[in-house]
């Protein structure tokens, strides 16, 4: 089995790569950072001895993605799974950011993710089942003031993922949307979680558990995965509480968290 992972040099991508390698899967890893990619690939080879193919790529660049696909074809790779991990998470009010930052969120989280998915589907095996995972977010469940663009981009992925899954069922392709709350991927994320106090910790789920269960669920053909009991509850609340009320609540919470972090 061969798994392709985007954003593989980041915290969540690395954890996914380790999980897949521990399961004995070969890997096709990509990330913007060639250096980071080289480091994690070397680490995986040394620890697990699986085959790791690596190619850095700016997935917002059409030509670069062409090259990535050509590279995989050249290596004779056929894929069984695609993990769309690459994404941008930038916080702050709409007016506090330059528009470049805002459109970058859309370009990476939405456009580039769909581009990679579209192209990677051409690399799937003729005879086997293919699995796609979109890393959405708990933020996809509500309108989120101060993270408006980010949350909406993740909402796009959630809806898209469910729709695409229905569409591709007859192609023997399964699609899973992963909607995690906070994840302690790096030391600064841990500090951010701590800054949110009790709720930060309550909505945080362990990285190693999330990655393990995500792969297991994807293989079983599940459609949506919200890790953690508290998060699941929040996601259900998000469906019953009116959006205007949620927006008000979220706004209050994020303003106070951002004050603490500043």
């Amino acid at each position: 089995m061969t798994v392709m992972i985007t954003g593989a040099a980041g915290g969540l991508g690395r954890a996914f790569a380790m999980e897949c390698a521990a399961r004995g899967h070969d890997l096709l890893l990509t990330d913007l950072s060639a250096e980071g990619l080289g480091r994690v690939s070397q680490g995986i080879r040394r620890l697990y001895g699986v085959r790791v193919f690596e190619k850095s790529c700016d997935i917002t660049d059409e030509r670069a993605v062409d090259e990535l696909i050509a590279y995989a074809n050249g290596a004779g790779l056929r894929l069984d799974m695609l993990l769309n991990v690459a994404g941008l998470d930038r916080e702050g009010g709409f007016l506090e950011r330059g528009f470049g930052d805002i459109s970058a969120i859309l370009r990476v989280n939405v456009e580039a993710t769909l581009r990679v998915t579209h192209r990677a589907l051409s690399l799937r095996r003729a005879d086997g089942r293919f699995h796609i995972v979109f890393v959405s977010s708990l933020a996809s469940m509500y309108p989120m003031p101060l993270k408006a663009t980010y949350a909406a981009s993740k909402r796009f992925l959630l809806d898209f993922s469910i729709a695409l899954g229905r569409e591709l069922e007859r192609e023997n392709v399964s699609v899973l949307a992963l909607c995690p709350g906070g994840m302690p991927t790096r030391d600064d994320c841990i500090r951010a979680i701590e800054a949110q106090g009790f709720w930060g910790r309550a909505t945080t789920t362990a990285l190693e558990t999330v990655t393990r269960r995500t792969i297991a669920k994807a293989l079983r053909g599940k459609k949506v995965y919200v890790p953690g009991a508290v998060n699941l509850l929040f996601s259900i609340l998000g469906k019953v509480v009116p959006p205007l009320a949620v927006a008000k609540l979220v706004y209050r919470r994020w303003s106070s968290v951002q004050k603490k972090l500043a």
């Binding site: 690395r14 480091r39 994690v40 040394r46 302690p184 841990i190 910790r201 393990r212």
Partner: protein
């Protein structure tokens, strides 16, 4: 003048050890992870000991590339300024994490920092230790007792428990000293590990939160000042004879866990070589 390298030298036990050693007239090479703290500490120590030779190097030791880089830098420094000779390497940097996180190499952070970094750095500095008839001292802990190496999942990808991970890392420290002794004592480089006792430092408050922070906040109050273990390090380094025992509590030989044996030490050594590419690095030098 004799020179020592101390990692984790910007706070806690490492910093106190630098101070004790500077007092005895040793040249100090400290390693820390934060550039400002490194510069500030070097300046403060220099102020206290105007005669001493003090140099600080900054590196995030949880990252292998950084360990290799700083290892090369320290080696050229020692070759230029200290006749290529080191009296000791105190492998002391360490930490705790509340959650499973990976380093850029994909390895669990506490495993990478508390164990692999010292392994790799000792290889980089081996020529200097050999030339100086030096000693390797690893900061282990009594918490290495009552646990085993989780060989099936040494990076705790399943059921991450901060205390279990930390305890294992301190057991790995003792096993590393064991393996190092086996391989290099014939070359005149000795090795031992030191249990500093319970020490009042902020180790459990950094990069952690919740329960870990709370528990350490209570525990640290009962600890001794870092000067106490620091004096033990200074004595083991300053003593004419290299340390005979493998495991010390303070400066006195003490009993270690039965898990600290050759079988485990060899297994860890092989794994560490595989994970760090240390044998290849050594072949290059």
């Amino acid at each position: 003048m004799k020179t020592v390298v101390v990692t984790g030298a910007t706070s806690g036990i490492g910093l106190a050890a630098c101070r004790e050693l500077a007092k005895l007239g040793y040249g100090i090479i400290g390693v820390g992870r934060n550039a400002d703290r490194c510069a500030g500490t070097a300046e403060a120590l220099q102020g206290e000991f105007p005669e001493a030779s003090i140099a600080y190097f900054c590196a995030d030791l949880s990252r292998q590339a950084e360990v290799l880089r700083v290892g090369r830098e320290i080696r050229s420094h020692v070759e230029e300024k200290c006749e290529g000779k080191l009296r000791a390497l105190v492998s002391n940097a360490g930490g705790v994490r509340s959650y499973y996180t990976t380093t850029e190499d994909g390895y669990e952070t506490v495993f990478a920092l508390n164990h692999l970094a010292g392994f790799l750095l000792s290889h980089a500095l081996l020529p200097c230790l050999k030339a100086g008839g030096g000693r390797l001292l690893v900061t282990s802990s009594a918490s290495h007792k009552g646990t085993r190496v989780n060989w099936r999942d040494i990076m705790f990808r399943r059921r991450y428990n901060p205390l279990a991970v930390y305890k294992q890392s301190k057991l790995l420290n003792a096993l590393f000293a064991f393996g190092f002794r086996d391989r290099f004592s014939g070359l005149g480089v000795s090795a031992a590990c030191v249990d500093p006792g319970l020490v009042r430092t902020e180790i459990g408050l950094k990069d952690t939160g919740g329960l870990v922070k709370f528990v350490w906040g209570l525990r640290m109050k009962r600890g001794v000042e870092p000067e106490v273990p620091a004096r033990a390090f200074a004595r083991l380094i300053d003593a004419e004879e290299p340390p005979r025992a493998l495991y010390y509590r303070g400066a006195k030989p003490a009993r270690h866990s039965r898990q600290v044996n050759r079988k485990n030490a060899d297994r860890l050594w092989n794994l560490s070589e595989q994970l760090s590419g240390a044998h290849r690095e050594e072949a290059k030098t």
